[in-house]
Amino acid sequence: MSRGEHVIISRKEVVKTIIHDWIIVPGKILVRNKKAFAGFLILAFYIFIATIGPYITPYPRPWTCDRYLAPTLFKIPPTIDHPLGCDYFGKDIWAQIVWGAPTVLQIAFIAGLITTLVGITVGMVSGFKGGIVDAILMGITDIVMTIPGLPLLIVLATVIRATDPWVVGLMLSVTAWAGLARSIRSQVLSIKQREFIEAAKALGLPTYHIVFFEIMPNLMSYIAINFIFATTGAIYASVGLYFLGVLPFTSFNWGIMLNMAYAQAGAHHRLDTMHYIAAPILAVIGLQVGLILFSYAIDEMFNPRLRTEV
């Protein structure tokens, strides 16, 4: 039964449609696409670590194992006492990875969300309103795009001294939204010319309806992909800022681990201490790979024209 027909749809059917549209169809797409499925599994693993992990992994305390103990996971026979070994303070490295995961994921998600929302809003308003509003918004966007992002972030980090994930996330989005805003604007401009928008306008449909129900669905896959890219960008920037030591060290974070291993311990100098710096490096790379692989299914999931094939 299609949604366009003039029948009263019962609540049960609404639930059924929602389950079909948001769980069954994406699930089918995911299982069919091997790369995206691998990405999904990796992301699920990271989310599991970040949410359940701290409850089942003991808090990393100093002097609970030997300094620079080699990973026991790669010993013969392997054990899971200290799977990734220990650092120069005798702290378990796996526990540090687990306890660092929540903040890394939170910051990445929040920054990705804010970047995408600001980008969409500015791009939509600019493309849809046109005229003087467009000129002003795009003027600001152009200036933001020329300000070098990373140096600005380093300065901002020392100005704000942010510790709350929301504040860090907000800070990371300060220049990141501009590129997305520009491309959303040009997408809106091209969609605005299509017949179905003209038809909707001729029917006298309100602006919010045209924006949210006519234009948005056509941009959804684009927006979702850019959300993933914004998230990977935020991971890059936040871990990098902690690595440089310009953000205040509060709880555990892979960037702080990197800073400790690189600047304090010099773990990259010798082979027998290498596992200390390798752990946060691989944790970050794994998360980035998971996000990129997962993005392979996004276009199929959100593009209204591709979805019908399922």
Binding site: I143, I154, V155, H268, L271, I285, I292
Partner: protein, 331 residues
Amino acid sequence: MLNWFIKRALLAVLTILVAASLTFFIVRSMPGDPIEALTQQFIYQYRMSYDEAHKLAMSVAPFIPKGTILEQYIDYMSKFLRGNLGVSISYSTGASVAELLASRIPWTVLIVATALVISFGLGIFIGMIMAYKHGGKLDSALALVFSITRSIPEYLVAIFMLSFFAFQLKWFPIRGAYSVEPGFTLEFIADVLRHAALPILTWVIVHLGGWALGMRGSTVSVLGEDYIAYAKARGIASRRIVFTYIGRNAILPLFTSFMISLGFMFGGSIFIEYIFSYPGVGYMLYQAIQNRDWYLMIGTFDVIVIAVVLGTFIADILYGFLDPRIRRGVR
């Protein structure tokens, strides 16, 4: 055309002024003052007592700007417009920011411009091959690899390079830009190249993917154009089709990004220069931030912004010349 040019040039100048003003106020709202930062640095560096270090730090006082923040801003901007970027407070105290920048810029240009040209050239080449084998095994494998390498932070690659090739294998030096007496000797040039190799390699690994994927997408869309089918039907030699019909049109959009990347190069190499202790603009900016060296910071920012604006500006103008559709007066 002239009208467009004047408008575009005015916009560029306006952007530089706004960005320079913004950075002035952001930098000046940083907590901590240079004297305190310098005192701490002396205590750490020379193992001095606090009083001794403080006295030494106070000797830079004549270089610390005075007056209200607004007076300082007006003073700074009027000097900025005349090309005077002020003096450094901490980093070799009293040296002019412009001179410090001039001594650092060549090193950044050496590693980043070289890396940019290599990754652009190689990326264009690989991207075109991928586009011709579009949908094949090689294409999809490379597309996957590149989309992953593109998202790996360069500081992670740099740490890996440093510990593997410099510390373990000892093939390359671990820090700095040169270790022999500077001069126009073969030995010095070889030494500089050996020091630049790992930073360049790191940059190329991270950025190659973006160029290759960009070129692939661009070429695939050109391949679908009618004029390519028509050129084939006319029996034009396939080499000519590949280079003048496809290659040229596919590179055009990437060329703009190339110019913009050239502009951004001073701001984008902080991590690499920090890890390899390479004496470029990025490393100096990092040290300036640590030392609260206000004018050195603002000056470096301004140079980066000017480079970006110039890069975009030149890209816009050249695009007009390179793209025949725009050149023949459509604009």
